[in-house]
Amino acid sequence: MKILYFAWLRAKIGKAEEEIELPTDVTTVAGLLDWLKARGPGFAEALKDQRVVRVAVNQHYVGWDHRLQSTDEVALFPPVTGG
Protein backbone atom coordinates (compact mmCIF):
# COMPACT_ATOMS: atom_id res chain seq x y z
CA MET A 1 0.00 0.00 0.00
CA LYS A 2 1.24 3.46 -0.90
CA ILE A 3 0.93 6.17 1.75
CA LEU A 4 1.42 9.88 1.05
CA TYR A 5 1.94 12.61 3.67
CA PHE A 6 1.45 16.33 3.06
CA ALA A 7 2.20 19.67 4.71
CA TRP A 8 3.08 19.51 8.42
CA LEU A 9 2.21 15.80 8.56
CA ARG A 10 4.98 15.22 6.03
CA ALA A 11 7.34 17.49 7.99
CA LYS A 12 6.68 15.72 11.31
CA ILE A 13 6.83 12.21 9.86
CA GLY A 14 9.90 13.10 7.86
CA LYS A 15 8.91 11.66 4.50
CA ALA A 16 6.55 12.45 1.65
CA GLU A 17 5.58 8.88 0.80
CA GLU A 18 6.29 5.25 1.47
CA GLU A 19 5.26 1.74 0.49
CA ILE A 20 4.01 -0.38 3.38
CA GLU A 21 2.89 -3.95 3.81
CA LEU A 22 -0.48 -3.70 5.51
CA PRO A 23 -0.76 -6.11 8.53
CA THR A 24 -3.69 -8.46 7.99
CA ASP A 25 -5.44 -7.24 11.16
CA VAL A 26 -5.48 -3.63 9.90
CA THR A 27 -8.64 -3.29 7.84
CA THR A 28 -9.84 0.31 8.25
CA VAL A 29 -8.47 3.84 8.11
CA ALA A 30 -8.78 4.10 11.91
CA GLY A 31 -6.79 0.88 12.26
CA LEU A 32 -4.12 2.17 9.90
CA LEU A 33 -3.68 5.36 11.90
CA ASP A 34 -3.36 3.43 15.16
CA TRP A 35 -0.77 1.17 13.56
CA LEU A 36 1.16 4.13 12.10
CA LYS A 37 1.23 5.96 15.45
CA ALA A 38 3.09 3.04 17.00
CA ARG A 39 5.87 3.24 14.39
CA GLY A 40 7.84 6.03 16.07
CA PRO A 41 7.78 9.42 17.80
CA GLY A 42 7.38 11.39 14.50
CA PHE A 43 4.30 9.38 13.60
CA ALA A 44 2.90 9.62 17.14
CA GLU A 45 3.39 13.40 17.14
CA ALA A 46 1.93 13.91 13.65
CA LEU A 47 -1.15 11.79 14.31
CA LYS A 48 -1.88 12.55 17.96
CA ASP A 49 -4.85 14.82 17.25
CA GLN A 50 -6.96 13.06 14.63
CA ARG A 51 -9.37 16.01 14.44
CA VAL A 52 -6.77 17.73 12.27
CA VAL A 53 -5.97 14.72 10.10
CA ARG A 54 -7.78 14.27 6.81
CA VAL A 55 -7.65 11.00 4.90
CA ALA A 56 -8.06 10.32 1.20
CA VAL A 57 -8.11 6.87 -0.36
CA ASN A 58 -7.47 6.71 -4.08
CA GLN A 59 -7.79 10.51 -4.12
CA HIS A 60 -11.24 10.64 -2.50
CA TYR A 61 -11.98 11.81 1.03
CA VAL A 62 -12.99 8.95 3.33
CA GLY A 63 -14.01 8.54 6.98
CA TRP A 64 -12.35 6.55 9.78
CA ASP A 65 -14.48 3.48 9.07
CA HIS A 66 -13.46 3.22 5.42
CA ARG A 67 -12.18 -0.31 4.63
CA LEU A 68 -8.75 -0.52 3.05
CA GLN A 69 -7.41 -2.67 0.19
CA SER A 70 -3.74 -3.55 -0.18
CA THR A 71 -3.62 -1.75 -3.56
CA ASP A 72 -5.00 1.55 -2.22
CA GLU A 73 -3.21 4.89 -2.41
CA VAL A 74 -3.77 6.44 1.02
CA ALA A 75 -3.01 10.11 1.74
CA LEU A 76 -2.87 11.76 5.16
CA PHE A 77 -2.88 15.54 5.43
CA PRO A 78 -4.06 18.49 7.54
CA PRO A 79 -7.20 20.50 6.79
CA VAL A 80 -6.64 22.27 3.49
CA THR A 81 -5.68 25.95 3.28
CA GLY A 82 -5.59 26.83 -0.39
CA GLY A 83 -7.35 29.60 -2.28
Partner: protein, 151 residues
Protein backbone atom coordinates in the same frame (compact mmCIF):
# COMPACT_ATOMS: atom_id res chain seq x y z
CA UNK B 1 -8.85 23.62 -20.06
CA UNK B 2 -11.09 25.00 -17.40
CA UNK B 3 -9.03 23.73 -14.45
CA UNK B 4 -5.30 24.29 -14.13
CA UNK B 5 -2.78 23.85 -11.32
CA UNK B 6 0.45 25.54 -12.31
CA UNK B 7 3.62 27.23 -11.11
CA UNK B 8 3.40 30.08 -13.62
CA UNK B 9 1.49 33.30 -13.13
CA UNK B 10 -1.61 33.90 -15.26
CA UNK B 11 -2.80 36.85 -17.34
CA UNK B 12 -6.27 37.68 -16.07
CA UNK B 13 -7.28 39.64 -19.16
CA UNK B 14 -6.15 36.97 -21.61
CA UNK B 15 -7.74 34.16 -19.58
CA UNK B 16 -11.09 35.92 -19.33
CA UNK B 17 -11.05 36.94 -23.00
CA UNK B 18 -10.39 33.33 -24.02
CA UNK B 19 -13.11 32.11 -21.68
CA UNK B 20 -15.85 34.32 -23.11
CA UNK B 21 -14.75 34.54 -26.78
CA UNK B 22 -17.59 33.77 -29.18
CA UNK B 23 -20.07 33.12 -26.37
CA UNK B 24 -22.51 35.95 -26.98
CA UNK B 25 -25.13 34.59 -24.61
CA UNK B 26 -23.02 35.65 -21.64
CA UNK B 27 -24.44 38.63 -19.78
CA UNK B 28 -22.15 38.69 -16.77
CA UNK B 29 -18.78 37.38 -15.74
CA UNK B 30 -17.73 37.29 -12.10
CA UNK B 31 -14.16 36.59 -11.10
CA UNK B 32 -12.12 36.36 -7.98
CA UNK B 33 -8.35 36.64 -7.65
CA UNK B 34 -6.66 35.67 -4.40
CA UNK B 35 -3.32 37.32 -3.67
CA UNK B 36 -0.49 36.77 -1.21
CA UNK B 37 -0.77 39.28 1.63
CA UNK B 38 2.30 40.67 3.36
CA UNK B 39 0.87 40.18 6.83
CA UNK B 40 -0.89 37.35 8.66
CA UNK B 41 -2.23 38.37 12.05
CA UNK B 42 0.56 40.58 13.37
CA UNK B 43 3.44 38.90 11.54
CA UNK B 44 5.12 39.97 8.34
CA UNK B 45 5.10 37.40 5.58
CA UNK B 46 8.20 37.32 3.36
CA UNK B 47 6.90 34.55 1.10
CA UNK B 48 4.40 31.72 0.92
CA UNK B 49 4.86 28.23 -0.50
CA UNK B 50 1.85 26.36 -1.81
CA UNK B 51 1.89 22.58 -1.76
CA UNK B 52 -0.73 20.34 -3.35
CA UNK B 53 -1.61 16.70 -3.94
CA UNK B 54 -1.15 16.16 -7.68
CA UNK B 55 -4.03 14.17 -9.07
CA UNK B 56 -6.41 14.56 -6.18
CA UNK B 57 -6.28 18.36 -6.37
CA UNK B 58 -7.37 18.41 -10.03
CA UNK B 59 -9.99 15.76 -9.30
CA UNK B 60 -11.45 17.76 -6.42
CA UNK B 61 -11.50 20.95 -8.47
CA UNK B 62 -13.32 19.10 -11.27
CA UNK B 63 -15.91 17.85 -8.77
CA UNK B 64 -16.40 21.36 -7.39
CA UNK B 65 -16.84 22.71 -10.91
CA UNK B 66 -19.37 19.96 -11.72
CA UNK B 67 -21.32 20.81 -8.57
CA UNK B 68 -21.42 24.50 -9.56
CA UNK B 69 -22.70 23.57 -13.01
CA UNK B 70 -25.44 21.46 -11.41
CA UNK B 71 -26.54 24.38 -9.26
CA UNK B 72 -26.34 27.23 -11.77
CA UNK B 73 -26.67 27.59 -15.53
CA UNK B 74 -23.17 28.61 -16.51
CA UNK B 75 -21.68 29.41 -19.90
CA UNK B 76 -18.09 29.14 -18.72
CA UNK B 77 -16.04 28.24 -15.65
CA UNK B 78 -12.33 28.73 -15.06
CA UNK B 79 -10.21 27.76 -12.07
CA UNK B 80 -6.46 28.39 -12.02
CA UNK B 81 -4.49 27.72 -8.83
CA UNK B 82 -0.78 28.30 -8.51
CA UNK B 83 1.66 26.17 -6.49
CA UNK B 84 5.24 26.74 -5.41
CA UNK B 85 6.86 29.76 -3.76
CA UNK B 86 5.04 33.08 -4.09
CA UNK B 87 5.78 36.58 -2.83
CA UNK B 88 3.44 39.21 -1.34
CA UNK B 89 1.29 40.69 -4.07
CA UNK B 90 1.56 37.56 -6.24
CA UNK B 91 -1.63 36.02 -7.58
CA UNK B 92 -2.51 32.65 -6.00
CA UNK B 93 -5.84 31.71 -7.50
CA UNK B 94 -8.33 32.75 -10.16
CA UNK B 95 -11.95 31.65 -10.20
CA UNK B 96 -14.24 32.95 -12.94
CA UNK B 97 -17.79 32.10 -13.92
CA UNK B 98 -19.95 33.41 -16.74
CA UNK B 99 -23.71 33.24 -17.08
CA UNK B 100 -26.58 34.94 -18.84
CA UNK B 101 -27.40 36.64 -15.54
CA UNK B 102 -25.13 38.32 -13.05
CA UNK B 103 -26.61 36.76 -9.92
CA UNK B 104 -25.76 33.25 -11.14
CA UNK B 105 -22.24 34.41 -12.01
CA UNK B 106 -21.64 36.00 -8.60
CA UNK B 107 -23.13 33.16 -6.58
CA UNK B 108 -21.31 30.40 -8.44
CA UNK B 109 -18.02 32.29 -8.24
CA UNK B 110 -18.36 32.61 -4.47
CA UNK B 111 -19.42 28.99 -4.19
CA UNK B 112 -16.33 27.84 -6.12
CA UNK B 113 -13.83 29.75 -4.01
CA UNK B 114 -15.59 28.82 -0.75
CA UNK B 115 -15.58 25.12 -1.60
CA UNK B 116 -12.08 25.22 -3.08
CA UNK B 117 -10.79 26.65 0.21
CA UNK B 118 -12.24 23.82 2.28
CA UNK B 119 -12.06 20.83 -0.11
CA UNK B 120 -9.19 21.14 -2.59
CA UNK B 121 -5.92 19.73 -1.22
CA UNK B 122 -3.61 22.74 -1.10
CA UNK B 123 -1.57 23.85 1.90
CA UNK B 124 0.18 27.12 2.61
CA UNK B 125 3.53 27.48 4.35
CA UNK B 126 4.28 31.07 5.34
CA UNK B 127 7.80 32.41 5.79
CA UNK B 128 7.75 34.66 8.86
CA UNK B 129 10.60 36.34 10.78
CA UNK B 130 10.25 33.43 13.27
CA UNK B 131 10.58 30.81 10.52
CA UNK B 132 8.25 28.68 8.43
CA UNK B 133 4.68 28.30 9.66
CA UNK B 134 1.93 26.13 8.21
CA UNK B 135 -1.28 28.12 7.86
CA UNK B 136 -4.15 26.86 10.00
CA UNK B 137 -7.54 26.21 8.45
CA UNK B 138 -9.92 29.03 9.33
CA UNK B 139 -13.26 28.57 11.02
CA UNK B 140 -14.58 31.42 8.87
CA UNK B 141 -13.75 29.43 5.73
CA UNK B 142 -15.64 26.42 7.07
CA UNK B 143 -18.62 28.67 7.82
CA UNK B 144 -18.46 30.20 4.33
CA UNK B 145 -18.45 26.73 2.77
CA UNK B 146 -21.28 25.49 4.96
CA UNK B 147 -23.75 28.13 3.79
CA UNK B 148 -23.82 26.37 0.40
CA UNK B 149 -24.87 23.12 2.09
CA UNK B 150 -27.75 24.55 4.09
CA UNK B 151 -29.41 25.94 0.97
Amino acid sequence: MTIRVQHEDFDLGAEIAALTRGKTGIGGLASFVGLVRDVAGSERIAAMTLEHYPGMTERQLAEIEAEARRRWTLDAVLIIHRVGRLLPGDRIVLVATASAHRQAAFESCQFLIDWLKTKAPFWKLEETPAGGRWVDAQASDDAAARRWVAE
